[in-house]
Each structure stands twice: as structure tokens, then as C-alpha cells.
Amino acid sequence: MFQYIFKRLLLMIPTLIGAAILIFFVLRLIPGDVCELRLAGSGLYADPEQIKLCRDNLGLNDPILVQFWDFIFGFLTFDMGESMWTGRAITYEIGLRFQLSLQVAVMATLVAIFIAIPLGTISAVKQNTWIDYFVRAFSIAGIAMPSFWLGIIIILGLLISTQAMFGEPWMPPIQYVSPFEDLWANLSQLIWPAVATGYRYSAVATRMTRSALLEVLREDYIRTARAKGLVEKLIINRHALKNSLLPVVTVIGIEFAFLMGGLVVTEQVFNLNGLGKLFVESVLNQDFTLTQALVMVVVTVFVFTNFLVDICYAWLDPRIRYA
């Protein structure tokens, strides 16, 4: 087992290095740079001398390999450097957003679980009935609606309905408050994006619950339980559900990794100051150092989640270890 874990760990290294090389050179291929944008972006008179100075100061005029070495060396020593746009430490910039992204990801995952497991179970138990069809249609609708569209409808719906009910329009707060400071304000902001995202991500988990449960329901021991005359409800809850959860948990785990770095659009709609918004801004600002760091963080989270999933499977199914 330890040998397997070690081997799996080693395999992460080339992926990370490859990702670092890819993102570094991809960014350098994008035309223009942060200085041009910063000094000339708003249409005021821009002094070419100043743009050159800005490039010098940020090291953008250094040879490309020197820049690359700085990046790799920084990454290896956990020193990500400073954002080219704000000049602040990247660890600070990311840390600030991490809390919010983590909270939304956790909340959205909870919402997804609360939707997926009951719906998936009902759907499996009532397989090929109209209830099953309805549940499946409902969960697929979640993937089908563009998330920004759903977001706009939620906010506008809140504004219009609260004005109709209370006379004054209400909308969720637009700035983040830590849950330890003011739990109510925090939740009233984050619950909406969490529901919108959770609903969306529940679709895959619902389908997984359904098919995993269907599989288990055909197993011998369930037939035995039925033959013993156990109540159907008990069979489902006690035996079947428990045994079909593993693949569901895996799916949710992988989705979670995506949520941490992938809420790009939803964060825009709800004005959440999270990693996704930071990413879009850093790309649009041509903030190379920050973009690189963010991609590396997202990739690392993803690779590590995959690693954990693999280890879990290997632990459960010894055959994998020797494959």
C-alpha cells in the first residue's frame, strides 16, 4: 500500500511541472501586457517612456528564460512573488479570496448532497415511473440553464418580489462578511450562489445515486433481505443506500475540486470576491504572476483530489494496487 501511495505521489510531479510550463508559456503568447493596460487602459494620454519603465520594474523586459526560472524557483520555494497589478504578495491576494471560495464550495456541496441523495433514491426506487422521469428532468434542467442566467433571475426576482411584499426592494449583500463576524449577513449573501451552484452540481450526483442504487438493489443480499420480509423502506435506508454511496462520494469529491477553482461565472453574477473572480481579473489584467499562481493552486488541488480518490479506491480494491 505504501509503495502504491509513493508511486502515485511521484506521478503528481510531472503533471505539476508540465502545468507550470504550459501556463507560463501560454501567458507569454497572449499579446499585450499589464503595463500597457494599466497606464493606457482608460484612454488618458500615455507616456511610452513610462510604459517602458513599468515593464523594466516588473521584469517584463528580462529574457524569457530568466522570467521562467524566477517563476519555477519561486514555486518550488513556496514564494509566489507579488501580483503585477497590485504589487501585493500573491499569497495575501489568494488567501483573502480562499476563505470565501471554500465556504461557497462547501455550502454548494451540501446543497448538492441534500438534493441528490433523496432525489436519486426516489428515482431509483420508482424506476421508470413518471416520478423517475420528473426527477431526472428536474436534475438535468439544472445543468441546462446557464448559471449566469439563473443568477440574474434570482437577484431580479428577489428585488421585485421583496418590493412587492415589503415596499422596499431587498437584495443580498454585495460584500463579504466573515461568518465568524456576522453569520446572518454572511449567509444572506452566500446562500443564493450556493443554491444556484448546488442545484447545478446535484445533477451528476443525482444520476450517480440513482444508477449506483439500482445496481445494489439487484445484488443478492438485497433479494435476501426482501425474502426475509423486511420493510422496503428499511432495506433501502439500511442496506442499499449505504452500500451505493462510495461512487457518489467520489463524484462529489471531484466536483468539489472543480468548485474551488471553477466558479468563474457565478462569482461574477453575485459579485463574490472569490478565486474565480480573481482569476478572470488577473487574466484580463495580464497579471502574469497572479494568473500563474492561481492556475498552479487550482491544478494542485485537482491533482491532489484525484490522488486521494485513487488512494481510496486502492484501499478498497486491492487489485488496483498491483495493476
Binding site: L11, P14, T15, G18, A19, L22, I23, V26, L27, L29, I30, P31, Q127, N128, Y133, R136, A137, I140, A141, I143, A144, M145, P146, S147, F148, W149, I152, I153, L156, I160, R207, M208, S211, A212, L214, E215, P247, F258, G261, G262, V264, V265, Q268, F279, V280, V283, V295, V298, V299, F302, V303
Partner: protein, 296 residues
């Protein structure tokens, strides 16, 4: 799947008449049939856009700005006085073009790479796997953002942006199926007979991975349509004045969601329905083609 269903599927496979097959499919997969209906409708809309659209979708007519749905403009007009129905109909063409092109190219490259990697195995497979890992690790939308930032916007670049992330996803699924086929003795036999690599791959391995491949394509088309809409929302997608659903939402949905809700509603409905249709249809195809895959 219930025993009766399997029997019926058996029946489905042996029966000759496509009409009977269709009937069985509709009875067994009512959701899939609905999805298929939506897809068919879209395809028809895209093919016959020139006949169906009452107006030129790109024609500005400022006298008719933001007209509510009426007999003259069945779905209303947008901020440039362009007929929304015409834009939705032509938008189906854009959506399907982006959707199918990127799904086909992406899955085809994925298919070639996946099968090749599984066939050759060893070091090639290991290196290839790591490369795919790298691409997989980049979240889809981030990958697309980078491509658009480099090549600029425009329909062909949107297709590239959407295609790239599909490749590793398809390659991975195809590879794992192909790996199991590789172990089957007849591949060894073919090799012993001295057949070329290309021939073995094309004649013996590719046909056997077609089921997951087809399933993948249907899933990708829906995803591609949605991705195009998201890219347009971020201002990186198809550009004005091309009629495209995501683009219609981006400019209109935010500004006119309240004062002229039809501008925001119809393209949103069109996108949702299309993705919904492709997903339902894809699920049904998955069930029919390969019952084992349901659990993946």
C-alpha cells in the same frame, strides 16, 4: 435494468423496421424521445433558418427598438430593433455549428489519442497519460479563457477554445475501454499476422470503442453550447452582430432583464432547452447502446 427491458432491447436490436425501433425507443425512453424531439427541432431550425426567419437577423431598425412580442414580431425585438425570432432561429445554426464542430473534432482527436495510447502502451502511454493529466487539471473554462485570450475572439477561435478541453476527457474514457480490448487475444492474433499498427487500430480497436465515443459526443454537444454561452457572457465568445444565443443574453439579459424581459428570456430558454434536449437524448442513447455504462 429490468428483465423485460433487456428483452425489449434485444428485440430492438433484431427488429428490422426503423419505425418499430423508434416506437420501442419512445416507450422505453420517453425522456430520451422528448430530448430527441428537441434536438430534431433544433436541427430543422438550423437547416431551414433562411426560410423560417421572418427578417434579416442582423438588420438594425431603430424605429422598432425593444418592441414587445406582437404579431409583427412574434418574440419581440432587441435594443437594435432586430427581430428576436429571426435571431433565435439563426442562433440555432451558430449553436449547432459550434456544438457539433467542437464535439466532433474534440472527440475525434481524443479517440485517436486514446486508442493509440492504449494500443502502444508502455512509456508512450505513461507520457501521454501525464500530458492528458495536465490538460484535465485545467478547469474547462480556464482553458477556454486562455485560448480566447491568445487567438482572440470569433467563432473559429471559440470552437478551438471549446475543443481543447474535450480532447483529454474523451481520450481518457476511450483509452480505458481500449485497454480492456487490447488484452483480448484477437488483437495479439492480428499482430502475429503482421498487420500494421494503423490497420489494427482502425480495423480492430476503433470499432470496439464506438459506443462510449458516441455517448461522449452527445454529451459534448450540450456542454459546448453551454460553454459558448458562458464565454459570451464573459465577453470572450462569438461577436456581434452574429446571431448567437449566448451573445444575445450577454448584451441584452443584464440591461433589459426588467424593462424588456423578452430580450433576456427567449435566448435563455433556447439555450436551456437545447442543452436539456441533448442531455436527455444522450442519456437515452447511453442506456440503449451500453447498459453497463450507466454507472460511469
Amino acid at each position: 435494468m429490468a428483465v423485460t427491458t433487456e428483452a425489449e432491447l434485444e428485440e430492438l436490436a433484431t427488429k428490422a423496421s426503423w419505425y418499430d425501433k423508434l416506437k420501442v425507443f419512445m416507450r422505453q425512453q420517453p425522456l430520451g424521445a422528448i430530448g430527441g424531439g428537441i434536438v430534431l427541432l433544433m436541427v430543422l431550425m438550423a437547416l431551414f433558418a433562411d426560410f423560417l426567419a421572418p427578417y434579416d437577423p442582423e438588420l438594425n431598425a431603430f424605429e422598432f427598438m425593444l418592441v414587445a412580442p406582437s404579431w409583427e414580431f412574434i418574440l419581440g425585438t432587441d435594443q437594435f430593433g432586430r427581430d428576436l425570432l429571426s435571431r433565435i432561429v439563426y442562433g440555432a445554426r451558430t449553436a449547432l455549428f459550434v456544438g457539433f464542430t467542437s464535439a466532433f473534432i474534440g472527440s475525434f482527436i481524443g479517440l485517436v489519442l486514446g486508442v493509440g495510447s492504449a494500443y502502444f502502451g508502455g512509456k508512450i502511454d505513461l507520457i501521454f497519460q501525464r500530458v492528458m493529466d495536465i490538460f484535465m487539471a485545467f478547469p474547462l473554462i480556464i482553458m477556454a479563457l486562455a485560448v480566447v485570450a491568445i487567438f482572440g475572439t470569433g467563432i473559429q477561435n471559440v470552437i478551438i477554445a471549446i475543443t481543447i478541453p474535450f480532447i483529454p476527457r474523451c481520450a481518457r474514457v476511450v483509452r480505458s475501454t481500449a485497454l480492456s480490448i487490447r488484452e483480448i487475444p484477437y488483437i495479439d492474433a492480428a499482430r502475429a499476422l503482421g498487420y500494421s499498427h494503423i490497420r489494427i487500430i482502425l480495423r480492430h480497436m476503433v470499432p470496439n470503442v464506438m459506443a462510449p465515443f458516441l455517448i461522449m459526443i452527445t454529451a459534448f454537444v450540450g456542454q459546448a453550447i453551454l460553454l459558448e454561452a458562458s464565454l459570451s457572457y464573459l465577453g470572450l465568445g462569438v461577436q456581434e452582430p452574429t446571431p448567437a444565443w449566448g451573445l444575445m443574453l450577454q448584451g441584452g439579459a443584464e440591461e433589459y432583464a426588467e424593462s424588456a424581459p423578452w430580450v433576456a428570456v427567449w435566448p435563455g430558454v433556447a439555450i436551456s432547452l437545447a442543452v436539456f434536449g441533448f442531455n436527455l437524448f444522450g442519456d437515452a442513447i447511453r442506456d440503449v447502446l451500453d447498459p453497463r455504462l450507466r454507472s460511469q
